[in-house]
């Protein structure tokens, strides 16, 4: 069985279908799963310890206006496979477990996601702003943070109000 099929089968076997909002194969050797925030740490731990995802490529957050998503890209160099995890977070309570205990590499990425999007990673050893000044009061990547737009860059559709 190809590696992506193995990963999906192992995950289903361990956590059951109900844990995953969706599962799919993006392309060769890349799996994408969507989960709730409460399952994040257990899934990550399983992926790291049982399926050999030893490298964390990136952690980022997306503001979907009605919810946040924390997106993880995990890599296994040995199996040469990748897993993308989208963890759903409610908009009014942006907290999620930190994965720094699993990967030290997650440290800076979680700080960046906190800095720009305001997701609080519970259990992070040093969750302070990293790119912006310490006294900055906003989370600029959120969609309610306005941005001054030069007119030439506004698409015609947007000017028309559609």
């Amino acid at each position: 069985m190809a590696v992506e099929g193995q990963i999906i089968a192992r995950l289903k076997e361990r956590f059951g279908e109900g844990t995953f909002r969706s599962m799919g194969i993006v392309r060769d050797r890349v799996v994408k799963i969507a989960i709730e925030r409460k399952d994040l740490f257990a899934v990550c731990q399983f992926l790291k310890e049982q399926l050999g995802m030893e490298h964390i490529t990136s952690i980022t957050a997306v503001d979907w206006r009605d919810r946040f998503e924390s997106v993880y890209h995990l890599t296994s160099w040995k199996r040469n496979a990748m897993v993308q995890i989208n963890a759903r977070i409610p908009h009014d309570d942006p907290h999620i477990d930190s994965v720094v205990p699993l990967w030290n590499g997650a440290n800076f990425h979680e700080r960046e996601a906190y800095d720009l999007m305001g997701i609080v990673y519970d259990g992070h050893p040093n969750l302070v702003r990293i790119l912006l000044p310490k006294d900055f009061e906003f989370f600029p990547l959120r969609k309610d943070f306005p941005q001054e737009v030069d007119r030439q860059y506004v698409s015609r559709r947007k000017i028309g109000g559609a």
Binding site: T57, V62, G105, F108, E112, L141, Q147, V154
Partner: protein
Amino acid sequence: MAEMWINMGPQHPMTHGLWNLRIKVDGETIVDAEPEIGYLHRGYEKIMEVREFQKNVVLTDRLCYVSSITWSHCYCLACEAVMDLDVPERAKYLRVVTNELQRIASHLMWLAAFGPDLGLLTALLWALRERELFLDLIQLISGARMNQNYPRIGGVRNDAPPDFEKYCRKVIVHFRKKLAEHEMVFEQSKLFQVRTVGVGRISKEAAIDWGVTGPNLRACGAAIDLRKLDPYDAYPQLEFAPAVEHGGDSYARYKVRVEEMKTSCDIILQALKKMPAGPYRVKPPRRCEGEGFRRTEDSRGEALFYVIGDGDDRPYRVKIRSPVFSSIAAAPIMMRGSKVADVVAIMGSIDVCVGEMDK
């Protein structure tokens, strides 16, 4: 002796840009270190949300001014993943050629910065002299020495000029001879050996745990190269082996980059030979919906773009994963136990580019 914190930066020749390394010293020995970054933060991910997909290529060029093409190329790949777009065969080869030319230019810029860090001013002059040849080639194909704006979503901006292959061959034959001279100057220099061998050592396991990628990881004995593992463009059709060293120290990081320049020369010649004729660009859709990501082997490691489109002509969200951002988190591991004077040799060998680190 009492321990104390010292700021190396934001204005310090070691930083090669603008960031601050706080080190905790006990006498001359480094006990702990803490990188402080963000001085060059320009809000790329936010700016990209109001510009159309194609217009962002200009921005991604400026992520790292010494490695522009590799960055905008990675962004184009990610957009193509969202749009489900297939690139013509010739464009794939043109991208490989420009990517590798850019990689050599970037590594030479690194060499030019690393030499003076250790007091070898000759390296600065020599490496910049050689780099100029590659910038000339890049100018020939794209029209600009730096910030080329060359890759396009759906291909590349223009075809190679006539006789491009001839010029590339000429430069590479010349460069291979010169690179041998470089190696002699560095590797036979007692000073260079003393400053780099065994300095800033990091194990393979620690490097992977801290998210170090690219030449810095290959210097620890891991044959991890995304051109092989997650191939894109024309790389599957080309034969090459990633350069690997086992020292894990500053010297191994230097060796890997020099070997990589040789590999890149081979790849360029192969790609020029195999390059088919045909179109070099397809028209991308203006709007797209969905999400996608692609990662490439940038000059400094694993670069990733994660792009989400919401059906508009501009991305809903773009995430830039910078290899230096992760590597610099591992700097304290490399530094603990070294002397203050070694900081320059360690940070210089990591190849820091502040533009992509701070975004």
